[in-house]
Structure formats: C-alpha cells, structure tokens
C-alpha cells in the first residue's frame, strides 16, 4: 500500500513537471504563432482606410494604383495622369469637403441624402478627377469607376521609405526608416560600449587587485538592474541637453543620445560575460606565456583575449541584442521621427519604440495594428538571429577547447 502511494506520488510529480514544461513551450509557440499570424495579415490588406473608396471617371484608362502613388497625388507630387499610366492630363483632386465647391447645400441635402448622386454626377462630368470618399456615399448606379488598390507588398513594406500608417487617403507602410533607425542606434551603441566594455573587462580580470574587483564588479552588475525607464529619464535630463548644447542642434533628441543610453545599458552584459570568459583562461596558459618571457600585455592580447574571444563575442552580441530590443529608454531620447537618418545627430525612431508608441492608437485588427505586428515579427527575427549566433559561437567554443 505504501509503495503504491509512493509510486502514485512520483507519477503525480512527474506529471506536474511535464505539465509545466509543456505549458511553457506551448506559450512560446502560441505567442510566436499569434505574432506571425497578425503580422503576415498586413500583406492581405489594402493600404487604404477601411470603408473608403477611391473613384475616377469611367473613361480614365488607369486601373490600378499603389498607396505611394495615391499619397503622391494627394501631396501634389504627381500632377498628371501620365505619370501613373494614364492619358496626359492634369489630375483634379477631390476630397469630400470639396463637394460644396461643386454643388449647393440643397442638392446635397440636409442629411447628405443627395450626396451619393452628386458624387456620381460629379465624377462622371469631370474626366480628370480622382475622388476619395466613404464607401457609404457610393451611389447604387455609380457612373464612375472605383480604382483598384494594390495590396501591401513585401517590397513596398521593406523597401518603402516612409512610415506614416495613419496617413489619408493611403497609409504609408515603409519600414525602412524604422529598421535603419534601429540599426543606427544599435550600431552606435555597440561602437561606444564595445571598446569601453572590453577595456573594463580586461582591467577587472587581469589587472585590478582582488579588492578593487570585489567592489567594481557588483557595482557594474547593478547597472544591469536599473529599470530602463530610469535610463531614459537620465538620458532625457542629462544627455539630451548636453548633445543639444555641444553640437548646437535645434533638438537634442537624436540617434546619438539613444546610442549613448543603449551603450550604457549594454555595458554590464558585455563586461560581465567577457570578464568571466577572460577569467576562465586557465592559469597554466597565462603562466606558460609569462614563463616564455612575454610581458603582461603580450600575455593579455596573445593568450587571454584569443582564448576568451568566443566569450567576448557572445557578450558583445548579447549586448547588441539588448540594445536592439530596448524600448522605453530609446523612446524617450531618440526623438521618434520616422525618417531615414542621414547622421547620428538627427532624430530617429526604432522598431520597438514605434510599437510601444503607436499600438495604443491603432484600432484592433486594422491595417495599422497588423503593420505593428509585422514590425514585431521583424524584431523577433533579428533577435532570433542574434541568439542563434551566440549559440553557434559558444558551441564552437566548446569544440575548440577539446
């Protein structure tokens, strides 16, 4: 009886353990699935606000139009139908509020009951018109023609140079400025953090006395525990004004500010991991080098650093990983202008900052919402690649040392 009870308990605990690991795994799979399902959905949507149509005269030979073309037409950068494959005629823009220029209030009616008819007649009578209006005002016997709009394409999404998902009439979903913003900020961060981190870890592992190390290491590790919003606050109050003054800029919220903050945030990762790796260099190896008449410095860069190079690389890559995924601090100091940056002294917007800033105003399930999820997918893939690289490097490391 006792053994039965014991066996049952063992099975029960086993079951519990299995359940918890299964739940964890499932959660991960579910999150990734949800992310990609929503993210990929963006490519099934048309980049025009839902419930709206774009209509032209029925004799116009243009049949298809992209969101970028729509935007350029409404920004009056494209002024002739010829430029988008039509007859050489200038484009006449029409927005719903322009209706009073054409028809009297009486014709439109108090509750807009005459509006569909007016629109239909107007589009029929003006051959070069392009009109953007809600679908509910589309007349039953509409005499114009609705323009077909291309779905969001991969090349438009990744190659587009403009991110303006709330633009009317057509949303602009080019993620290039965001990806570039992320990469600029992260690259800057790593350029600042790597030399500093490497120097600090060499100092702590090889040069500092035990006493100094015992004080410094916990302090540096403490740096990792500071909430990112505090870093952001620090950046906003100290670094941003400093940059503004030093470079005499109109605003201090720049890619450089983001890089500095992220660099500081990546430091503890880089230092702890590479310092551990350096301290793992066998004493026998260092002694062998010194016994051959190598100086301390020669030993450091000919033995210690090569021996721990995979650890150092892993630290650096994990540091970048933290920088790429970081949201709050960057959101606070980079100025969040979704334009392709030309120098580090310009405002940029990173992918995570975009998601955090815009998700609140994106209607659930809409184009904008899904576009943000697509951004999430990109971010996920970037960090996945980073983690796989670290895995690969540390595996190679094991192979190298027997």
């Amino acid at each position: 009886m006792k053994t039965f009870y014991k066996k049952f308990l063992e099975k029960f605990i086993e079951g519990l353990l299995m359940l918890s690991s299964t739940i964890t795994t499932l959660t991960v799979v579910l999150i990734v699935f949800f992310l990609f399902k929503e993210g990929i959905g963006v490519f099934n949507k048309k980049p025009i606000e839902e419930g709206y149509v774009i209509a032209i005269n029925k004799n116009n030979i243009v049949t298809k139009i992209s969101s970028e073309q729509i935007k350029n037409i409404y920004d009056q950068k494209i002024k002739n139908w010829k430029e988008i494959g039509g007859k050489p005629d200038s484009i006449i823009l029409f927005r719903l509020e322009d209706i009073s220029n054409y028809y009297s209030d009486a014709a439109i009616g108090e509750n807009f009951e005459g509006l569909p008819n007016c629109l239909s007649r107007l589009i029929d009578s003006v051959p070069n018109i392009i009109a953007f209006f809600p679908e509910k005002y589309l007349d039953k016997n509409f005499k114009g023609r609705q323009l077909e709009i291309d779905k969001v394409t991969l090349s438009e999404f990744f190659g587009g140079k403009e991110w303006f998902p709330t633009a009317q009439p057509a949303a602009q979903l080019g993620v290039m400025p965001l990806i570039l913003g992320t990469l600029w900020v992260s690259l800057g961060a790593i350029l600042l953090a790597l030399p500093l981190g490497l120097a600090a870890s060499v100092y702590m592992s090889e040069i500092a006395s035990d006493k100094v190390r015992r004080i410094m290491k916990p302090l540096i590790e403490l740096l990792a525990g500071i909430p990112s919003v505090v870093y952001g606050f620090f950046g906003l109050v100290i670094i941003v004004p400093l940059i503004q003054k030093t470079f005499n800029l109109p605003v201090g919220e720049t890619a450089l500010a983001g890089s500095i903050i992220l660099g500081i945030m990546a430091l503890p990762t880089i230092i702890t991991i590479s310092e551990d790796a350096m301290r793992n260099t066998p004493r026998a190896m260092k002694e062998a080098s010194l016994a051959l008449g190598a100086s301390k410095w020669q030993t450091i860069y000919k033995v210690v650093i090569p021996y721990s190079i995979s650890g150092i690389t892993a630290g650096a890559i994990l540091g970048i990983g933290r920088a790429i995924g970081e949201t709050m601090a960057v959101l606070m100091v980079t100025g969040n202008a979704a334009v392709i940056p030309h120098s580090i002294l310009e405002p940029v917007r990173t992918i995570p900052a975009t998601i955090a800033a815009e998700l609140g105003e994106a209607p659930n399930g809409g184009l904008h919402f899904q576009a943000l999820f697509a951004l999430g997918c990109i971010l996920f893939l970037i960090t996945l690649v980073i983690n796989l690289t670290v895995e690969f490097i540390s595996n190679r490391n094991k192979y190298n040392k027997h």
């Binding site: 006395s209 035990d210 066998p282 026998a284 190896m285 260092k286 002694e287 062998a288 080098s289 010194l290 016994a291 051959l292 008449g293 190598a294 100086s295 020669q298 000919k302 033995v303 090569p306 021996y307 190298n400 040392k401 027997h402």
Partner: protein, 250 residues
C-alpha cells in the same frame, strides 16, 4: 662558479612561512632534483627562480637568489628577460590553443623576432631537440591539442627550449604522463643536461634517482639534506631523508 645560488631564502604566503632559510648552490649543466612530501615547498622554491611567485598576491621573499651571479630579486631587474633565460615546464602539459608551430614560435614572437626563416629554423631545431620532429613534421599547422599528453609535454619543453634559456625549471613534468611518455621525457632530460642547468621537482623517487646528479630533500619548508644523488639515495646522512626515500613516510 655556480649557475644558481640561493642564499638564506625565506618565503612567505601572507603570514605563513613556506620556505625557511634555504641555501643551495646549483652547478651548471647538472640536473638537480627537489624531492619531498606534498606541501613541503619544493614547487614554491622552484618558482622563485623565474619569479613566477610574483603573480601571487601578498607574498614576500627574504634572502637572495643569484643566477649567473646576479640577484634576480634586485631592484630594476627585468623580469621578462629573466624568464627568457630561465625556461619552465609545468606539471600538466599546457600548450596554447594554437598550432603546433605557433606554440613553439610563441616565445620567439613575443621577444620581437619577426624573421620568418629564423623562426622556422629555430622551431625545427627545438622540436628535433625533444625528439618530436618525426611525429609532428607533417602536422605543424594543426592544433597542439591534437597531440597526445606525452607529445604535448615534449612540445612544451620544445617551446621552452626555443628561446634558448640557460636554465630549465621542471615542475613535476611527468606527473600527468603514462610510463612510456615518462621514459621519453626522462631520456630527454638526461640529454638536455649537456646544454642546460636543470632543476626538477618530482614526487617520483625512482625518477629523481634516474635523472638527477644532485638531490635536495625538503621537508616543511626546510632543506633537510642536499648532496650527490647517489649518496642521498644509498647513504643519506639524516634519518628523515632515509625514511622518506624508502617510503616510510611522505
């Protein structure tokens, strides 16, 4: 003229004294074995000759150690050049994670030698000196970790020889090796004697008897007996030495 002279050498790890008033004079081109039970200070003593103990925090040396008549602990002594003169072979084979060639070339490169041909020649002679050439000549570009333990240890000796020291310190060089590799290293020590002054720490009494000309027996940080190996092994003057050598304690 002695190669190494140690005069009234004391050594402290923090507050505890590891060596007490040790006086030995080492003749050139001899092999001296330092024997004694674990913790007697023989490795510590050996590591004083190339100032390896400098790496350990909170240590202190008293007395004098002269190599070629110069006090190696005097102010202004260049430790790096001292270590070029006094090579060392460690307890466990410790090749660098580099190729076989680069392992032997390391000492030359850190000493600023860049002449490719010179390095190649020196590497070859050094490896030939340790009778490893035939075994590795076709795989000089391979990792030193691919060699067996015995081969690695001989490579480490070659590495020490490449910078042409005049003294070689060996800290239990065969303790991690199998009997066949041990025999090869011992044979090598015997041959190297012609050119170098060798000090070897060993736990193995037979080894001390086989390879050394003189033997020093250390116990609890003190030099108990020092003299001709044959005399010490066959007719020790002090009873404790006899007890240790015959295996009654230690």
């Amino acid at each position: 003229m002695y190669k190494i002279e140690s005069k009234n050498v004391d050594f402290f790890y923090g507050a505890s004294q590891a060596l007490k008033n040790i006086n030995i004079a080492f003749k050139p081109n001899t092999v001296t074995a330092l024997i004694g039970p674990s913790g007697c200070g023989k490795s510590t003593y050996l590591r004083l000759f190339n100032r390896m103990n400098d790496l350990i925090d909170n240590t202190k040396i008293g007395g004098q150690i002269l190599i070629d008549g110069e006090d190696i602990y005097a102010k202004g002594v260049n430790v790096d050049s001292l270590r070029k003169k006094v090579g060392m072979v460690f307890q466990k084979p410790n090749p660098f994670p580099k190729t076989i060639f680069e392992n032997v070339a390391y000492g030359l490169r850190v000493n600023g030698i860049t002449d490719k041909k010179f390095i190649e020649e020196r590497v070859e002679t050094s490896i030939k000196q340790v009778v490893l050439w035939d075994e590795v000549k076709d795989k000089l570009k391979k990792s030193a970790f691919e060699l067996s333990g015995g081969q690695q240890q001989r490579l480490c000796i070659a590495r020490a020889l490449a910078i042409q020291p005049s003294v070689i310190l060996m800290d239990e060089p065969t303790s991690a090796l199998d009997p066949i590799s041990t025999a090869k290293v011992e044979e090598l020590i015997y041959e190297l004697k012609a050119k170098y002054t060798i000090v070897i720490v060993t736990h193995n009494m037979q080894q001390a008897g086989r390879v050394s000309d003189t033997t020093a027996f250390l116990y609890m940080g003190e030099l108990i007996e020092y003299g001709n190996t044959k005399t010490i092994f066959t007719n020790p003057k002090i009873e404790r030495t006899q007890n240790y050598i015959t295996g009654r304690f230690g």
